[in-house]
């Protein structure tokens, strides 16, 4: 992963035709909200009360649901964030990804440390995310070696990357390796999709989905699973996953001849660019109240922090991808700044999960995770 190679890929994805870009990154703008600490402060400074009139605290809410403290279950998913480089700049992005983010890409040593940690982790799934993880020079190598180690591999794909000429081979290649594609599509129609991800995204996403269908994805083949992932296109909760899946299957097939296997619905997290959007629209407090009012005790057991390890581009370990973006690192006894090269499954299993107010996003409604609803 040489610096020149990253710059070359950065130039490739910054080309206008590489992807819709409705905004720019907080990092590029030097936004006040770019540092995670500022984002946490924005959430903590809100005057939010729980049902008993006390200041809203996620730890207290999950304690009332019988999780005191919040501890993990069995580790199932090894999620690795290869970096923040992306050909798109979606308005709701909690990663603050974009074409300028060559500053935050995993180096070779860390990729090797991830692969070694995967083997001793006991997890059954390697969940590869970004940015657009396909942009990472070691993406193919990481996938091949994880597959060879017997892992189920997930590629979290923004769809439009599949139309960039250099990546046109990916639908076939991913299928050949049995990789599940979890593709972002906020809505089954153009209006809300383009509102969130930029004009032209829906048309490109449909084109990419057709390429995936042509490669055998989305037709019930367990080696070519096509999962769609829907984030709401604004300050409202995700809908009922089962109902929406049935409606989307009819709608996408009828209107576009596109098929997929399943739909995941998740809530937007008040982090990074979605947090900025909420603040700019004066919607932050109301959105947080919506999350609090929709707190669902039965969504706690299935929280993804309970079955996942999340590794960042620089090899740090987090309880989930959202904590990663807020720089809330995993804490095991007596040690902070845990690095993936030192990953010890037993110590990780014994930890207490770290939480803050953004966590109410995962317990609202039907529950929300990288695997969709949790109830």
């Amino acid at each position: 992963v040489s610096a020149e190679r990253l710059l070359e890929i950065g130039r490739l994805v910054a080309a206008p035709e590489a992807g819709p870009r409705p905004t720019t990154t907080l990092a590029a703008r030097g936004s006040r909200l770019a540092p995670p600490g500022e984002q946490l402060r924005a959430l903590d400074s809100l005057e939010l009360r729980d049902a008993d009139g006390r200041p809203a605290s996620f730890d207290r809410s999950v304690a009332a649901a019988g999780f005191e403290p919040l501890r993990p279950g069995a580790l199932e998913i090894f999620q690795v964030n290869l970096g923040k480089l992306c050909n798109m700049t979606c308005r709701h992005c909690h990663v603050d990804a974009g074409p300028d983010r060559t500053d935050a890409m995993m180096d070779d040593e860390t990729v090797d440390a991830v692969l070694a940690a995967v083997e001793r982790s006991g997890a059954h799934t390697v969940d590869v995310t970004g940015g657009a993880p396909e942009l990472h020079p070691r993406f193919a190598d990481l996938v091949e070696r994880a597959v060879a180690a017997g892992m189920h591999v997930i590629d979290r794909c923004n769809l439009t990357i599949l139309l960039v000429p250099r990546f046109r081979h990916l639908p076939e290649w991913l299928g050949d390796h049995g990789v599940e594609v979890v593709a972002s599509l906020p809505h089954c129609r153009k209006m809300n999709t383009d509102a969130q991800r930029g004009n032209g995204t829906f048309a490109k996403s449909i084109e990419a989905l057709k390429l995936l269908n042509a490669a055998g994805y989305g037709q019930g083949d367990p080696r070519r699973v096509l999962t769609l992932m829907s984030n709401p296109a604004g300050a409202f909760l995700g809908g009922c996953q089962g109902t929406m899946e049935r409606e989307w299957k009819v709608s996408l097939e009828r209107d576009h001849g596109v098929r997929f296997d399943r739909l995941f619905v998740l809530n937007n997290m008040p982090i990074a660019r979605f947090l900025e959007w909420l603040i700019e629209r004066g919607q932050l407090e109301e959105y947080m109240r919506t999350l609090l009012a929709a707190f669902n005790p039965s969504a706690v057991g299935g929280l993804m922090c309970r079955n996942t390890i999340s590794v960042s581009w620089d090899g740090r370990i987090y309880d989930c991808d959202f904590n990663q973006m807020l720089d809330i690192e995993t804490r095991t006894t007596g040690e902070e700044r845990l690095h993936v090269r030192d990953f010890d499954p037993a110590r990780y299993a014994g930890r207490v999960i770290r939480t803050a107010r953004h966590c109410f996003g995962c317990t609202a409604g039907a529950g929300s995770s990288c695997g969709g609803a949790t109830t």
Partner: protein, 111 residues
């Protein structure tokens, strides 16, 4: 400013049970059952509710079902079409009475 409609009153809707808890409980349990997925999906029911809200011009319902329809997976195009359905029926309800007028005029006027 004094006004009959206050947005914060929507959240107090359950308090209407104060004068008769049993009837309120019956109403709210019936209401919840109505909006469950059935032969119609929850999204379709939400769009009907949004259209009816405009027909009965209930500002509480318009707020509630604008949010609800989005959360159930509808978009602005679908929601606008629903409001046009309400508008067409309201307008049509006036216009179809024009037949009564027409018959009246036919009886009264030579021709």
């Amino acid at each position: 400013m004094e006004t009959y409609y206050r947005p914060e009153d929507l959240a107090k809707f359950p308090e209407v049970g104060e004068g008769n808890r049993a009837l309120a409980d019956k109403f709210f349990s019936y209401y919840a059952a109505v909006f469950e997925d059935g032969a119609l999906t929850a999204r379709e029911k939400s769009l009907i509710a949004l259209a009816v809200a405009h027909a009965v011009q209930c500002p509480y319902c318009i707020d509630a079902y604008s949010s609800d329809a989005l959360a159930k997976g509808a978009d602005l195009e679908q929601m606008t079409e629903a409001v046009h359905v309400a508008t067409a029926i309201r307008g049509g309800a006036s216009l179809v009475h024009g037949v009564q007028m027409l018959e009246h005029v036919r009886r009264k006027v030579m021709g």
